[in-house]
């Protein structure tokens, strides 16, 4: 007979508020094999864990069931507690009586009944549990960082500084990302370029960092410690070794298109360097817009290049690289405003997004930092800023708060005042959110010292009236509707993930939320990890963030990646498949369904009726197997089983759950 201990957690009132703990204890004691049942207010606390450890020893328990929160939350905690009592951690099972019970059911009697059933099921599983042991797997001690914005740069530098090689892959022609587009940073008003550019240079000159700009990840295989990644290095059509960065090519190039870097406020050439401080400072030819590639006429760039660096015959290169860990830092985009016709964005040049404003005030921007109205190149006098355009809008936009708009808008009012002391800023806001160091002080400075007028309310309509823009809004604090004749209207459009985020998620098997932001492994306690072991998140690809947060998360990701790279081997999760060779018929269908190529065939010899015969059976590489169990269902004779989710355990659970 087993000696199973059942530990039931109140989780304060979270469980005890809906589930009759006493009753669950009482019922648990009646389950065959249960030698002990007890409860405590917070099982995951130190006292709770000690209680588990001590009870295992005192009661001589051989299996443990903890009825508490989701195993996705605290299974590791309780496994450790059991281990400290000398019990194999895989002899612990959890019953999820919080997320799947007390939090979703209102009726105490029903919830209690279900809690008892869940405990009974966990006991059944525990009684079929066996000791499991991890294996050692070797680690490829190099890292991949996806995305060359400030988060990616920081992560790459941290990993490289620790002595490990990093490949930094960036989709666009240069690293730098969104931060390179910004003018000043809140709340200190540091010049963005002044603090970013040195980091870009560091990244490009670091002996441990290999830069792959104008490159994309095409395929990812493998698992933590052993990823194999295919990188497409797109043809740049300019030889990076030969190019001197003289700029003659883009001087002479006849094709013009909207500049991505300048948010379409000005045009660039088909052969271009996005901005003067780009790293690498080597131009790239944009095939879609180059006359040679579109019409097979031109080749002017080739002719003017004295270094003979232009190579129109260059082709994409596919590189296969191996890594132990991956940091994803793919950044954000700005929500398209097609749904918000009342603002007339796109219909009048003086109605712009905040990112465009950023370019307009930037010394390296299209007006050399002079901040002029795009319509007539005159300084603006009245500038209206509208917050929450598409943020906090579940109807036409995104339900979440984009987090940084309140602060950058305050910054914009200050910058406006600095440029034109006679000007006036008006900010329509719903709430001003200034949670951050020196944020509230900065916002007050905008209001008190820079005369920004904050109007609590939204804008109903923006439309051109003569050479002005008429803004109709409301100030709910005074209870009045407000009309402002503006020279410029700046819309704080919501922050959204990059459009290719779902594709990246697919490649790396990451989870995403409903808006395609990547999901962290735990919202509080594992904020940089993902559910894909060895893949970590940094920056706004995971959710709206400001620069210091993105950088902090990048360093967090780097340290998590280093945690893997610093080891020669990793311990594998023992919950993987295994073959019972005596049952294996050798049909090898398991090989066909295995997504990780973890199964191979081998020939064994065995005695049948006194004669030695050879036959083929399947063999699992436990380091490669991830434990999905697809093979176990393809296996008719039941030879393939999944440790920790074995046929015996699941059948026992089914039987118990139906009792």
């Amino acid at each position: 007979m087993r000696r199973i201990g059942v530990f039931i957690c109140w989780c304060g009132a979270n469980i005890a508020g809906t589930v009759d703990i006493e009753k669950v204890v009482e019922e648990s004691k009646k389950i065959p094999g249960v030698a002990y049942a007890g409860e405590y207010r917070y099982m995951c606390s130190e006292i709770g864990q000690d209680m588990i450890r001590d009870t295992i020893i005192e009661q001589n328990l051989d299996r443990v069931v903890v009825a508490a929160c989701s195993p996705r939350m605290h299974e590791p905690t309780f496994r450790r507690a059991a281990e400290s009592a000398g019990l194999n951690p895989y002899l612990v099972q959890m019953a999820n009586i919080r997320e799947h019970c007390s939090w979703v059911h209102k009726d105490e009697e029903e919830a209690t009944r279900k809690a008892v059933a869940l405990v009974r099921t966990a006991v059944a599983k525990a009684s079929r549990s066996v000791e499991l042991f991890s294996q050692e797997i070797p680690v490829e001690r190099r890292a991949l960082v996806l995305g060359g914005g400030i988060a990616g740069i920081q992560a790459a530098l941290d990993i490289a500084d620790a002595g490990y090689e990093v490949d930094l892959v960036e989709k666009s022609p240069t690293i730098g990302g969104r931060m390179a587009q910004l003018d000043k940073t809140f709340p200190t008003l540091d010049c963005s370029a002044c603090i970013l550019t040195p980091k870009m240079v560091d990244a490009s000159s670091h002996p441990n960092i290999n830069l792959f700009t104008w490159s994309e990840v095409e395929q990812v295989e493998g698992y933590v410690g052993n990823f194999t990644v295919t990188i497409r290095k797109k043809a740049r059509f300019v030889d990076e070794e030969k190019c001197t960065g003289c700029g003659d090519c883009f001087e002479k190039c006849p094709s013009k298109v909207d500049s991505e870097f300048d948010e379409g406020l000005v045009q660039r050439k088909a052969i271009y360097v996005p901005f003067p401080q780009a790293v690498p400072n080597v131009p790239v030819i944009d095939k879609e817009n180059c006359r040679w590639f579109v019409k097979e006429k031109c080749r002017v760039c080739e002719k003017v290049c004295e270094a003979e660096a232009v190579d129109l015959e260059q082709e994409d290169e596919l590189l296969e690289k191996r890594y132990g860990a991956v940091v994803v830092a793919t950044g954000f985009d700005v929500l398209g405003l097609e749904e918000f016709g009342e603002f007339n964005y796109g219909k009048h040049p003086d109605i712009i997004t905040s990112l465009e404003f950023e370019r307009l005030v930037n010394a390296s921007g299209p007006t050399g930092g002079k901040l002029l109205r795009p319509s007539n190149q005159e300084p603006p006098r009245n500038v209206v800023f509208v917050q929450c355009v598409g943020s906090r809008d579940k109807s036409r936009g995104k339900p979440y708060c984009s987090k940084i708009c309140c602060m950058y808008t305050a910054k914009h009012t200050v910058l406006l005042k600095e440029k034109y002391p006679q000007s006036q800023a008006y900010v329509f806001y719903i709430d001003v959110r200034t949670g951050g160091k020196d944020f509230e002080e900065f916002h007050r400075r905008a209001v008190e010292e820079n005369d920004a007028i904050y109007l609590r309310g939204q804008v109903g309509k923006v439309f051109p009236e003569g050479d002005k823009l008429l803004v109709e809004g409301v100030d709910s604090l005074s209870g009045k509707t407000v009309q402002i004749e503006a020279d410029m209207v700046v819309l704080a459009a919501a922050m959204v993930p990059r459009t290719d985020a779902p594709e990246i998620a697919r490649l790396l098997t990451l989870g995403t939320d409903a808006h395609s932001f990547f999901t962290e492994a735990h919202p509080k306690l594992r904020p940089v990890e993902t559910h894909s072991a060895g893949v970590f998140l940094a920056g706004a690809c995971q959710g709206p963030k400001d620069i210091p947060e993105a950088v902090a998360q990048a360093s967090g990701s780097a340290s998590k990646a280093l945690g893997i790279l610093s080891k020669e081997t990793l311990l594998s999760d023992p919950c993987v498949s295994k073959v019972d060779e005596s049952l294996c018929t050798g049909c090898l269908m398991c090989i066909d369904v295995c997504p990780y190529h973890a199964i191979t065939e081998k020939t064994i010899e065995e005695k049948v009726h006194g004669e030695v015969v050879k036959r083929v059976v399947a063999e699992v590489n436990e380091a490669v197997c991830q434990g999905c169990g697809a093979c176990s269902v393809a296996c008719r004779p039941g030879a393939m089983n999944v440790k920790g989710f074995s046929n015996e355990q699941i059948l026992a659970e089914v039987d118990a759950v139906c009792l």
Partner: protein
């Protein structure tokens, strides 16, 4: 017909004499008029035991399972009808036989006689031999009397729907290929699908209630080739031993599911069932659905083709919203 039987004997004798194989598996006459047994011939002189007539129904491929492992590295000659050849290919796909160690002699088959159909009309009285002559059967009685009846009326149902009467795998084909004119094979399935859920359940409950768990269906099936059947395991105990209705249903559902995408539709399960459960309909239902959802697939035709339930397409349809 006699010609083919002579050829069979001749070939068997020759290959043993030349040492090409050490064992020939064919059919021999059983104790009763309708019986034919598998014959295992190791000596040239015994080749004359072999027969070929419309009663040679046993599927010989399955005997390879035991013979191959016992005669390590030795070669075996095997006579295969159309359905036997499909079975052979399925065993090959399941790694349960070795192509190089088997010499296949293909026998085009124009259908086998269902003794019960003769019995039903009293045609079995004093019957000793049955021969096929064109579209007719020649029934020979002990007294030397001969009676001729239209062959089609007395063939197994499964033979009437046979789509591969000519072996798809052979080293040498014996005899002329026969025309392929199968009747629609899913008629039975479709008829059952006309019933509502309650009637379907009652139908099958009644059928399964007769099951005595003799495992004949499993033992004859070329797709049921596991060394140890999952239902014979003690731990985990997937299925009880009692012939309880739910356990019977469980057994037959899972057996059908285990051969899903692998069943060659030879119909042997239905034939050998001592209580006449129409087991082939179960397998055919699955074949029909696989064809409909994931593309036409005939198990046993091409052992290189991936079986439908171990592969997928990213845009596969699902049947989760149907009611």
């Amino acid at each position: 017909m006699k010609n083919l039987q002579d050829t069979i004997r001749e070939i068997a004798a020759q290959s043993l004499a030349r040492g090409e194989v050490e064992l020939v598996i064919g059919w021999e006459k059983g104790d009763l008029w309708w019986q034919s047994y598998p014959a295992f011939i190791e000596e040239e002189k015994e080749a004359d035991r072999l027969i070929w007539d419309p009663l040679c129904v046993p599927n010989l491929s399955r005997y390879l399972l035991q013979e191959l492992s016992e005669m390590d590295e030795k070669k075996i000659a095997l006579f295969v009808k159309g359905c036997d050849a499909l079975a052979f290919n399925q065993l090959l796909q399941d790694n349960r036989t070795v192509r190089e160690r088997v010499v296949l002699y293909g026998i085009p088959c124009d259908g086998l006689v269902d003794p019960s159909k003769l019995e039903r009309e009293g045609l079995d009285r004093d019957l000793q031999e049955v021969e096929r002559d064109g579209e007719e059967l020649v029934l020979k009685a002990a007294a030397g009397e001969e009676k001729r009846v239209p062959a089609k009326d007395y063939l197994y149902d499964k033979c009437l729907t046979c789509r591969y009467p000519n072996p798809v795998a052979y080293d040498q084909m014996l005899g002329e290929t026969v025309p392929v004119e199968p009747e629609e094979r899913f008629t039975g399935v479709r008829k059952l699908e006309e019933l509502d859920y309650e009637d379907r359940f009652s139908y099958w409950a009644e059928q399964f209630s007769r099951c005595i768990r003799c495992f004949a269906c499993r033992n004859v099936c070329p797709a049921c080739s596991c060394i140890k059947c999952v239902f014979d395991l003690q731990e985990p105990r997937w299925l009880g031993k009692a012939t309880e209705p739910s356990e019977n249903a469980f057994y037959h559902i899972i057996r059908a599911y285990h051969v899903a995408g692998r069943c060659v539709d030879c119909g042997e399960c239905s034939r050998v069932c001592p209580v006449d459960i129409p087991l082939q309909e179960l397998n055919r239902k699955i074949i029909l659905d696989i064809n409909e959802l994931y593309g036409e697939y005939d198990a046993g035709v091409d052992p290189e083709q991936e079986a439908p339930l171990i592969t997928y397409k990213t845009d596969d349809p699902a049947a989760f919203t149907e009611s």
